[in-house]
């Protein structure tokens, strides 16, 4: 009697134990290398850290570091606002661009494998230190200036800008779009993974749906919005979060540069952690609010 009741429980318990065995590397790693630094960093941001010969001492001093970040430090607030603005604009542009490219790369045409290979090249080219180096490439812009001066042709985007201004369209929104069009290269090289994710989503949309829609008289444009878009809408959420996280871990991020300089060069661990936590908090709020909004619009087929 007792044995019989215990038997299913026993299997469940065995499975639970096996589950814990499988995730044990993560648990150990998380407890050893994440939990302590996580809380220590939080604690540090509220205290004054002094580094001595045998170790370091921390003394709580309330919000001093945070107040310093916002009121005393001249750069931080400005950099923070700038980076958040740049992040929002870039993330939106990356989403549109990568969805569009994924749609094209999902079609059948000659040389598709080659084009795909080129589009995913940025996954290599825009990672880690290479991106940071790419950005201050003064020589390239120098060469560009020389070409412009020597050929005396006006820059295309300048001309378009002038025309827009002449029509009185150059308000803030158009200006923003204009900046994005100018930075199409940055957008293209930071959307490699997003394209892969969208592409993998597009493959899961059953062909039969399109056929049925076409028979019912649906145009390609309509089936894009009525079928493709809802079917991959969950991936918008994934990509959105991924892009934001990716953006603020990039090595050309001004706020992160400042934090690292404060920590490694000036050895002000307390102040650096406070700034890092402010930035982290801001990004978490952005991710939370925006994914809440997006997840309302996401459609789950199953």
């Amino acid at each position: 009697m007792k044995k019989q009741r215990n038997k299913p429980r026993g299997l469940q318990r065995r499975k639970a134990i096996a589950g814990y065995q499988f995730i044990s590397p993560f648990i150990i790693g998380f407890l050893l290398f994440m939990v302590q630094p996580f809380f220590q960093s939080l604690y540090m941001s509220f205290s004054k850290v002094e580094i001595g010969a045998g170790g370091f001492t921390m003394k709580l001093n309330g919000f001093t570091n945070y107040i310093r970040a916002f009121t005393v430090d001249t750069e931080f607030t400005r950099l923070l606002v700038e980076e958040v603005g740049r992040m929002t604009a870039n993330t939106l542009a990356i989403m549109v661009f990568s969805f569009f490219v994924a749609l094209i790369l999902n079609q059948k045409f000659k040389g598709r494998a080659l084009v795909r290979a080129i589009f995913f090249l940025p996954v290599i080219l825009s990672s880690g230190v290479i991106l940071g180096i790419e950005y201050d490439n003064a020589l390239l812009s120098g060469i560009q200036d020389v070409i412009q001066q020597s050929t005396q042709f006006a820059n295309v985007s300048d001309v378009v800008g002038d025309i827009l201004e002449a029509f009185g369209l150059a308000d803030a929104l158009v200006a923003q779009v204009y900046v994005l069009v100018d930075s199409i290269y940055d957008i293209a090289i930071s959307s490699g993974i997003q394209i892969i994710i969208f592409l993998s989503g597009l493959q899961t949309v059953p062909e039969a749906m399109y056929e049925a829609a076409a028979i019912e008289g649906c145009t390609a444009w309509e089936s894009l919005w009525k079928i493709t878009f809802p079917m991959v809408s969950s991936l918008f959420l994934v990509n959105w979060v991924y892009t934001i996280v990716d953006f603020f871990m990039r090595s050309d991020n001004e706020v992160m540069k400042k934090i690292q300089a404060t920590m490694i060069i000036n050895l002000q661990y307390d102040f650096a952690s406070a700034m890092a936590w402010v930035y982290f908090g801001v990004v978490i709020v952005i991710i939370g609010v925006s994914s809440l909004i997006i997840s309302k619009a996401v459609y789950y087929y199953d």
């Binding site: 499975k15 589950g19 499988f22 790693g29 290398f33 940025p122 880690g128 661990y269 982290f280």
Partner: protein
Amino acid sequence: MINTTTKNKMDYWERNKSSGGYLLKKTVGSISYRIIRAILLFGMCFMIIQPILNKISISFMAEEDLYNAMVISIPEHFTAGNYNLAVMFMDYWKTLGNTLLISATIALLQIAACTLVGYGFARFEFPLKKLWFACVILIIVIPPQTISTALHLHFRFFDMFGIAELITGSTINLSGSVLPYYLMSAGCMGLKNGLYIYMIRQLFRTIPNEIEEAAYVDGCGTFKTFYRIMLINATPILTSCYLFAFVWQWTDGFYSKMFLGNIKLLSIQLQQISEKLSSYMINTLHLAGGATIGYTQCIIATGTLMVIVPLLILYLFAQKGFVESLSSTGIKM
């Protein structure tokens, strides 16, 4: 039969007429769409490759070519001197060996650990599963920079629950040694490891339950089922995860600088190349002004090329692993 096919071929205009011009409109539309698409794709591909081509041409230029407005892409004074300098500054061959070894082993360790964890999350029910998975999401979202301060001190004065201090009387300085990073990788706390766990979990969730159950019925234990049945099914995606881990580790500057500072790695050497150039100019060639901006950029371009060329070669051979296996299986996120 023959009659109908010839009829179809011959009478395009007739068919067009009978459809009221619809056929012609459709053909023109699809052809122009294809042309526009081809132009667009060509433009974007060119935009992506152009910086590499540019770097290649710059890396072969002698210094005077850089300032010559007539020279744009084909160098007038062809030279391999930039490469010699870059090899010297980066201690290239030794650094390359180090980087290969570290990237390969770290990526292997990370993917092995993440596979186990991802499998655990995908296939087993256990108490507090949601909480642990929330922790995985947390490590995806927390930028390492936020906790880097504390992590730095954590390893500078490393101590496991005060044991080391009891025995030796002081804490162990692990900053600058390789060990902590290997430990972190084994504990899934390395670069982007949360992402790998997430991806691998999604993958294992797509494998049908019946395969697993059949293995259990035939007497496989959980671990045997894992490596005899599930792992084989997952190989393509695990390969591409491994490739990503390898490449990202190769170019990573953050963890390398923090934990592997004493070992010469390409990413770190590349960041220091301009300082080395100017000190070489001043100390060895006795040029008081150091290197000019243009020449520094030229050497940086050469160095960058040398860092990414091994990756490009890898990409050429393993292109399918990078792209096709991930995109064609259609992982549901």
